[in-house]
């Protein structure tokens, strides 16, 4: 039995490039229509806020909210269709029959849904957001807008995806939101291979159930094993008498935190994409 497990049977750049081209050719129309649709929706939404808010519309917080809601919603929706070929048996056979390896097929989906979509969506967001902020600042400056107390309203800065959230104490959350997005998005990509129909809804339900189970497990297993009066706070801290002057805390060692933290943050997408690869490999139609 020929077991051509050489690297060439697992990954070939030439074959992968052909697969990427094929994916683009088949989906080009859909993708090219999605970009103006995204731009239009962002423009209408931000335009509506500019008209409605007569003080300081589109502040950084609002921009970040718009960015993340759009990213999470559209990104997960798109990811849940990335291996949608399996919705229809005939389409699934055609896709699996393409002479490319499962790894190449998974990587093709990953590049389009995780990387390309993120880049395109972020560019589309800024293509709308930057001119809108100019408009907003023009309105603030030319309209001599003030707060109700008479203080002048400061110009609005453009929200920076990689610079964190507007408030200092929330700054670290921006990268968390992004990392959580990639984790969630990878779960939806896995769902597109797992579920035959309604992958978006089914994955959403599965993720919700998994989160509830995780939280319940933490609550039941960890909280109940703690000494009387102690509670868990986030992942690394345990406190007693929280909110009082006698508060005491136990924290995991920084080394353990340094290992566990990145594993949780960066590991989930890796785990889900690996699961997607094996699922494609073992898929029967």
């Amino acid at each position: 039995m020929k077991d051509r497990s050489a690297v060439n049977q697992t990954f070939s750049m030439d074959r992968w490039a052909k697969l990427m081209t094929l994916h683009w050719s088949v989906n080009r129309k859909r993708y090219l229509l999605a970009i103006p649709a995204m731009l239009g929706l962002l423009l209408v939404w931000e335009g509506f806020i500019v008209i409605e808010n007569t003080f300081q519309p589109l502040d950084e917080g609002f921009q970040s909210l718009t960015y993340y809601v759009g990213l999470y919603t559209v990104g997960c929706l798109y990811a849940s269709t990335i291996f949608g070929e399996f919705d229809i048996k005939a389409q699934g056979i055609v896709w699996l029959a393409i002479p490319a390896s499962s790894l190449e097929k998974m990587l093709c989906g990953l590049v389009y849904s995780a990387i390309t979509f993120f880049v395109v969506y972020t560019l589309a967001f800024y293509l709308v957001d930057i001119p809108m902020i100019r408009v907003v600042n023009g309105l603030i400056k030319n309209g001599h807008r003030t707060w109700a107390e008479g203080q002048p309203i400061d110009p609005v800065p453009v929200f920076h995806v990689f610079n964190g959230m507007p408030n200092d104490y929330l700054r670290h959350l921006s990268s968390l939101y992004l990392l959580f997005y990639f984790a969630l998005q990878s779960a939806f990509a896995l769902g597109s291979v797992y579920f035959k129909r309604y992958a978006f809804i089914k994955t959403g339900v599965a993720v919700a159930i998994a989160l509830i189970c995780f939280m319940t497990l933490q609550q039941r297993l960890i909280e109940q094993t703690l000494p009387q009066g102690w509670h868990r706070q986030f992942f690394y801290d345990w406190i007693i008498d929280g909110g009082t002057l006698h508060v005491r805390a136990v924290r995991l060692s920084p080394l353990l935190g340094a290992i566990l933290g990145p594993m949780l943050l960066y590991g989930i997408p890796v785990i889900f994409w690996t699961a997607t690869y094996f699922r494609i490999k073992e898929k029967e139609v």
């Binding site: 052909k18 081209t21 050719s25 005939a90 056979i93 029959a97 073992e282």
Partner: protein, 278 residues
């Protein structure tokens, strides 16, 4: 052997399709896989193509394990499924982006086969009828020059002229190095095309003989003679007389009626198979 199936067991959840199937397919032949709907023909082809996995037993195709779906294997084995899916692309663009995956693809062969079917190549795939889409896929399948071509009900949706063209095109597609397996329940469509008849029912091979062996062993005859009718293994009466399948003791050649053979196997398989025992 190009394909070796040993002790194949396959089931869909609770429905067993194969339990211990053995089959060998050699290069240089066009195999006709005949059987009623739902008897496991498509399942067998999908197992051979690596789209379904055996629950037990082994399948060896060209020395590969189909379930691994290695790129080399997928380049050499092409499955034309019964249900089609073609993307909404212009025909020529689809051929261009798809053909690059098949090193032995011949554009000339594709164009020639398409011309034979009088296919318009300027249109879009999604604007074509089911029959036209099927013909495009048949042309593409042939042009890949795959070693093993698996065709599931390829004549479904083809008009009479196209069916005849299909037989013509397929007859010229087989050589000493490749093998074509055509599954169908429309037995007539494969007449004068296949050189080996495999009849499958309830997941079992009921009959598996070459056309030459059938010709040597059986005699297909229209008769009015009651004595001859009584001696027939299988008979059917029609307004022209009795169509008979008789043991061929004289080495006489006769035009085979696949449909009648199929019915004879279904009704008197054991008796028929005995004649082929050496």
């Amino acid at each position: 052997m190009m394909v070796t199936i040993r002790d194949l067991h396959f089931a869909y959840r609770r429905r067993t399709v194969f339990s211990g199937l053995n089959l060998d397919l050699a290069p240089g032949h066009i195999y006709g896989l005949l059987g009623r709907n739902g008897t496991g023909k498509s399942t067998l082809l999908r197992n051979l193509g690596g789209f379904l996995f055996p629950r037990q037993g082994t399948i060896d195709v060209l020395g590969y394990l189909p379930r691994k779906r290695q790129p080399d294997f997928l380049q050499r084995v092409f499955l034309l499924p019964e249900e089609l899916f073609l993307p909404p692309l212009p025909v020529r663009r689809w051929v261009r982006v798809q053909a690059v995956f098949y090193p032995r693809f011949s554009q000339e062969q594709f164009d020639k086969a398409a011309a034979g079917f009088s296919l318009p190549l300027e249109g879009r795939l999604d604007e074509m009828s089911y029959g036209q889409q099927k013909k495009i896929l048949i042309c593409f399948a042939l042009a890949t020059n795959a070693d093993l071509l698996l065709m599931d009900e390829p004549t479904n949706g083809l008009d009479i002229v196209s069916k005849s063209q299909f037989r013509k095109v397929m007859a010229g597609a087989v050589d000493a190095n490749n093998c074509i397996v055509i599954s169908t329940h429309q037995v007539k469509d494969l007449e004068n095309l296949i050189d080996r008849v495999t009849i499958i029912d309830e997941g079992r091979i009921l009959f598996d003989q070459t056309v030459d062996a059938i010709s040597r062993t059986l005699l297909f005859r229209l008769s009015h003679d009651p004595q001859e009718t009584a001696a027939a293994i299988y008979s059917e009466s029609s307004f022209r007389g009795n169509s008979l399948i008789l043991p061929n003791h004289t080495g006489e050649e006769s035009a085979q009626d696949l449909e009648m053979l199929y019915k004879a196997v279904m009704l008197k398989g054991a008796q028929l198979n005995l004649l082929f025992k050496p």
